[in-house]
Symmetry: C2
Subunit: 551 residues, 2 copies
């Protein structure tokens, strides 16, 4: 071996065996994050936004460097080019994301998880993490289904059954639920060996149907569209049912849609209720949906990725009444369980359901083993269940209840602030801790109901532009943040969508004062000439309109 090769080899061993010194660049950052993460983020994330195109320049080489780089040099790069230009998701003034602050203990526990580097796919590489994950699934199962102790004693560690599946997030959770439902509907029967073996084409022929549909309200998360594509049902067969004035599925429309499907020889695979829509945070009438699912004999899934933890609250739990009748439920831990990104779950009422997607292999997931991987869509997975377990243990049911209650209270306060403000219009009232609103000054709000439809549309389009512009500038300024979406508002329901600000009030550190500042900043942006020009256009429109249209 040449001297150079030997030197490289020694360096290589070093990175596997010698930790970063505490006074090294990386050691110092590590220390700073341990001591005060909020301070670190505040100091190092540059508020003012550079354009994405400009940031891209720092990430434009496609060639893998030939030679190694010093850790210190790389750390400087991370600090200046990456951390500085990331998003301060934990900031209490950033009320537009579903990602918020993390409890402190999540950071050192994440390090333990990373250092152990377990692979949850099989017991052989995860040992105690396997029963831990099963326990977490049982805990969430119990939160939803409230089954008796005996039930959990029997199933929690049963190798042939699963109370749910842990996964990277809500999309995989929803997909797993529909996959299991699909495979159960087309289970082996007579000569037919089941859809898992024979595929969807033969399954349809076997049941003599022309299609398989998933019914859900218009407020459905986009992952359901992805899932219907992936599973071979086709996006056409995700039936988006109209909502009522409160963004909940309209049961009359639901029944109409169902009858339509039957006429076309399309079978309902699943009815999906939403517990906390992504855009407005509303909860479908789960109990009535459960009735209907039972009546038509289809799988009832509840997407509670956001709203599931409302079950912790004795005060608000009733909003989700009926969830305990769902065949499957999605909950995201990286949302309202305050766990770092990449942790979702799907729970199944019956410990049998997941058998429909069970699989085995020669070297792992052998029959009778307790390997978690025999019932998951993913293969290799990290031990994220530890962080959920930690949250449930350290924060406890009552702690999460407090977080949920405070969030809903905060959202109501914010709704009041908006309602009382001369510049803003509340579009969707918060049922949980999400609301939408828009810029729409009082004088204009009073006028709008009296405009003819064409003019109303024109005005709304200009208001859309104002909202879009304000949201963009607020984001770029980097002090506070709300997101935006487009939706059909109950008030202006002429089939048109309007653009609205969307606010998610889950960060426990967000105060009423901060929420006032969010609105104040938006008012300041409105005073800007470009936004004023849009406002002038509205005034001109109204002035030029025939008196009949404007009055």
């Amino acid at each position: 071996m040449t001297e150079i090769a030997l030197a490289s080899l020694q360096n290589l061993y070093r990175i596997f065996t010698v930790p970063e010194a505490p006074d090294s660049t990386l050691g110092a950052i590590d220390q700073a994050i341990s001591e005060n993460v909020e301070d670190f983020l505040h100091k190092h994330i540059v508020a003012l936004e550079r354009s994405l195109e400009e940031i891209e320049k720092d990430f434009s080489f496609a060639a893998i460097p030939e030679e190694p780089t010093f850790v210190s040099e790389y750390t400087e790069f991370v600090k200046q080019k990456l951390v500085a230009q990331s998003v301060h998701t934990a900031a209490p003034g950033f009320v537009g994301h579903m990602t918020s602050a993390l409890p402190y203990f999540m950071l050192p526990l994440s390090r333990i998880m990373t250092a152990l580097n377990q692979n949850l796919v099989k017991v052989e590489t995860s040992k105690a993490f396997t029963p831990l994950e099963r326990q977490v699934l049982a805990m969430l199962h119990r939160l939803i289904y409230l089954r008796e102790d005996k039930f959990y004693d029997q199933w929690i560690h049963d190798s042939e059954h699963a109370l749910g599946a842990f996964c990277s997030g809500g999309t995989i959770a929803n997909t797993t639920a529909l996959w299991a439902a699909r495979n159960r509907l087309f289970q082996p029967e007579g000569d037919f060996r089941g859809i898992a073996e024979e595929g969807l084409f033969k399954a349809y022929q076997h049941l003599k149907c022309e299609g398989l549909a998933v019914l859900v309200s218009r407020r459905a998360h986009y992952s359901l569209k992805k899932a219907t594509d992936l599973l071979g049902l086709g996006r056409d067969n995700l039936i988006l049912v109209d909502t009522d004035l409160d963004n909940r599925i309209d049961l009359i429309s639901l029944k109409e849609q169902y009858r339509e499907l039957l006429k076309r020889n399309i079978r309902p695979l699943a009815l999906v209720g939403i517990a906390g829509t992504t855009e407005t945070g509303h909860v479908d009438p789960l109990d009535k949906m459960a009735d209907f699912a039972a009546e038509i004999g289809c799988h009832f899934h509840v997407d509670a990725a956001w709203g599931g933890p409302t079950l912790f609250s004795d005060t608000h739990r009733h909003l989700l009444r009926g969830i305990e009748r769902a065949d499957s439920v999605t909950i995201d831990a990286h949302k309202q369980l305050y766990v770092p990104m990449g942790a979702g779950m799907v729970l199944f009422k019956s410990p049998d359901t997941l058998s429909a997607i069970e699989h085995h292999a020669n070297y792992i997931l052998r029959h009778g083993s307790k390997d978690l991987g025999s019932h998951t869509l993913e293969g290799s997975r990290p031990g994220k269940a530890l962080l959920v377990h930690a949250g449930l243990s350290i924060i406890g049911r009552k702690g999460y209840e407090l977080l949920i209650d405070l969030g809903i209270e905060r959202a109501r306060k914010f709704a009041e602030l908006i309602d009382q403000h001369p510049n803003f219009e509340l579009i969707t009232k918060p049922e949980l801790n999400i609301l939408t609103y828009r810029f729409n000054p009082d004088w204009l709000q009073d006028l709008l109901p009296r405009l003819d439809p064409a003019l109303l549309n024109q005005v709304n389009q200009l208001l859309d532009q104002i909202v879009q512009e304000v949201q963009k500038r607020q984001r770029e300024a980097g002090k506070t943040f709300v997101s935006r979406t487009r939706l059909r508002a109950a008030k202006y329901d002429n089939g048109q969508q309007i653009t609205v600000f969307r606010s998610v009030l889950a960060n426990p550190l967000t105060t009423e004062k901060i929420l006032s500042e969010v609105l104040q900043e938006q008012c300041d942006i409105v005073r800007d000439t470009e936004v004023q020009r849009l406002l002038e256009q509205i005034k001109t429109l109204l002035k030029n309109a025939k008196p009949a249209a404007a009055i």
Copy 2:
């Protein structure tokens, strides 16, 4: 608010704002891991295995605790019940997993990632992490496809295209590849609006086929079976082609299988080549497979989850010749890129392919946005791409080359040790850094070829039991670890599978001395009475056999 409620509230704020003190239980562990992770794992993981049933007792309560728990108390639980009973995946004597030691810098960088808590689904919650991830995908793309700079300048940050998708692991990567291939095969044409919209049933009717098959060798990873189920093709249509004596797909059988499919009006969706089979580490003849895929006009996917990083090595890169002709390639970063669990990628030759699974929504993934989520199976995802970027930058191409070269060399050394050892039989020679072997003493090895098939089977079954017993006891003792699998061995190819030890030589800290100890420990276990009893059974069998059968 009552005093108790106020106290709870204050405690709740504390966990979001006050870090663990350095002298707290959790702070001390955090420090210990920072200072010397190997020492921490060595000290805290209890070698001797408790039975899973016993461990389960510590994880058997399904009720979420009502009251909060002190962090210190919880940390003690983690230390004693979880860490102590986890698997020391990084230990150099654990040569049965695909999870090995991590470079030190991965730990503090993981903490930065967790603290930033970005969500890569959209630019709004990931800013600089979005171009970073796109750069990582381009780097891996270039490693495989070696395209010119101009190509990457054009596509790396193009909002309407993607060079690949980052995901939680190889299973999602393989599924994404087949999903994109399926949707491209059934793209919109005339009245047919494509499979994504209309679903698989109508797609088959449109192309007038009865099925869609994926062709791959018997050594395929089980995720492909899962993917064919999920995508609606059915596991029946995963066609497992026989392998040659070197565990590579047999091209004559492949062509026969293809002709069979045509007769049954089943279309080949994809041909899958394996670059590093999970069980034996062999590489399919990718170049010839690319020829055949081109000839029959189907998607060519390469599952290089394990073997992909062989491309770093100038010495061994040639083994993967033809991979640059693949339409898509899977690579796992949590395997031979030495990144913590939960990081995989799929790369696509053409920047257009992923358009077949593109999706948009109102509030994110808007048309024209650079949101990564419009081309991924998963939704919310953490910023794991940082860790891949760090590895590629800090270790560099040459560093990874050294790791690959050393691993292959180490595997060859181990194969020699086994070959020369009087107690063991090498079953599959290492092509990369994986090999399989079994207990089979020299005197028996000499006899086996002369036994009649029935007797051979009986002896093999007893040897299987010995291997299974030795592997189990070695695992339970917790000092060293090899895994086991069942496969058809070239030597004894009478259609029967035999049980073998499987060894993966990827940990750079594994020395030749450690490998000798692994074998020595197995020899020690063989001397145990129970194993000796099995050996006696073999001897009795041979003694009682008719002379004709035994000679």
